[in-house]
């Protein structure tokens, strides 16, 4: 599996969380495509369907793990997923911890099965 085959998408209600999580992941996964969408269209607290669409499109991978903070982010993510051609794996797992785990494993060329198994243990939603 190439490091660029599987990407990561971070969706948060807060722009700083989305960007900060991407930064945290980059430390351990410099070759993985990590994109993010945080806040509403005008930078307020919430999520933006448009920003999520853009972050999906900008991700270099066609197979993308998507992580989010709270349930309303999930609903916007699902709408965006339905409109995308990419294969988006919506993860109901601990945002920061599971995104970090996925990033580190993709960077280390771990098998997809192995990644999924590890993430399963981080399900909290």
């Amino acid at each position: 599996m190439s490091k660029k085959a599987v990407g990561i998408l971070i969706v948060s209600h807060i722009p700083e969380i989305a960007e900060g999580v991407a930064e945290l992941l980059k430390e351990a996964a410099k070759d993985v495509s990590i994109t993010y969408a945080g806040g509403t269209d005008d930078g307020g607290v919430g999520t933006s369907f448009e920003k999520i669409n853009t972050a999906i499109a900008k991700n270099e991978a066609d197979d993308v793990f998507a992580f989010y903070d709270l349930g309303s982010a999930k609903m916007n993510l699902e709408m965006a997923m339905e409109m995308s051609d990419k294969y988006i794996r919506l993860m109901d797992t601990a945002l920061v911890e599971s995104a970090y785990t996925a990033a580190a494993l993709i960077q280390a060329d771990a098998e997809l099965d192995n990644i999924l198994k590890q993430l399963e243990q981080l399900k909290v939603k």
Binding site: T40, V45, T47, G71, S72, E78, M79
Partner: protein, 196 residues
């Protein structure tokens, strides 16, 4: 009768109620959520009004779909994808039969449930949409039906949405999304769309 004009008027009346009650809706959301339901919807209906006023919408389906896209794009909270999914589903059903309001609203409820997975009794807007759908089907929608449905959320314990974090502590407060859905159906009644 539901037509492109009355549908637009209905949504316009809904927008007015949201704007009038913006502070109240956010206040309700402060108690069991994050205090933004009023401002979320106000932002959404403003975008919706702009699109609807731009004109060129000839069918009920066009009107509902245009409203959906505006809400999805602008609301920012859970109510965005929820009302958005409702309106998309309603638009689709209106494409089948634009006169059958009961079926259109029922399609909206299905859209909300497909998106949010909430059942009756979970203290969400679904608790207004379900009884309203039933009443529409039997031709018996009244202000009282709506009001009772809204008030009924007060004693429920939230198990979906942000209020579910509070568990038992959510009891004793109206659900903000139920209240805003109440406005949607009051606007429907007041618009005379259901009159023969």
């Amino acid at each position: 009768m539901l037509t492109a004009e009355t549908a637009a008027a209905w949504l316009h009346a809904f927008a007015e109620k949201i704007n009038e009650n913006k502070a109240y809706l956010s206040e309700l959301d402060s108690a069991i959520g994050d205090g933004d339901h009023g401002s979320n919807l106000a932002r959404g209906v403003q975008a919706m009004e702009e699109k609807l006023q731009a004109g060129g919408l000839e069918t009920v389906q066009d009107v509902l779909k245009t409203a959906a896209m505006a809400l999805i794009g602008k609301v920012g909270g859970a109510s965005g994808p929820l009302y958005g999914s409702a309106l998309i589903a309603m638009a689709k059903q209106a494409g089948e039969d634009e006169k059958d309001v009961a079926s259109i609203v029922k399609a909206g409820l299905d859209g909300i449930q497909k998106r949010g997975k909430a059942e009756k009794g979970e203290k969400t807007m679904v608790d207004v949409w379900v009884p309203v759908c039933e009443a529409l089907k039997s031709g018996a929608l009244t202000k009282e039906v709506i009001q009772n449905a809204v008030d009924g959320t007060k004693e429920m314990k939230a198990t979906k949405g942000r209020a579910s974090y509070l568990g038992e502590r959510s009891v004793g407060h109206l659900d903000p999304g139920a209240v805003s859905s109440g406005y949607l159906f009051e606007a429907l009644l007041e618009g005379g769309i259901l009159d023969e």
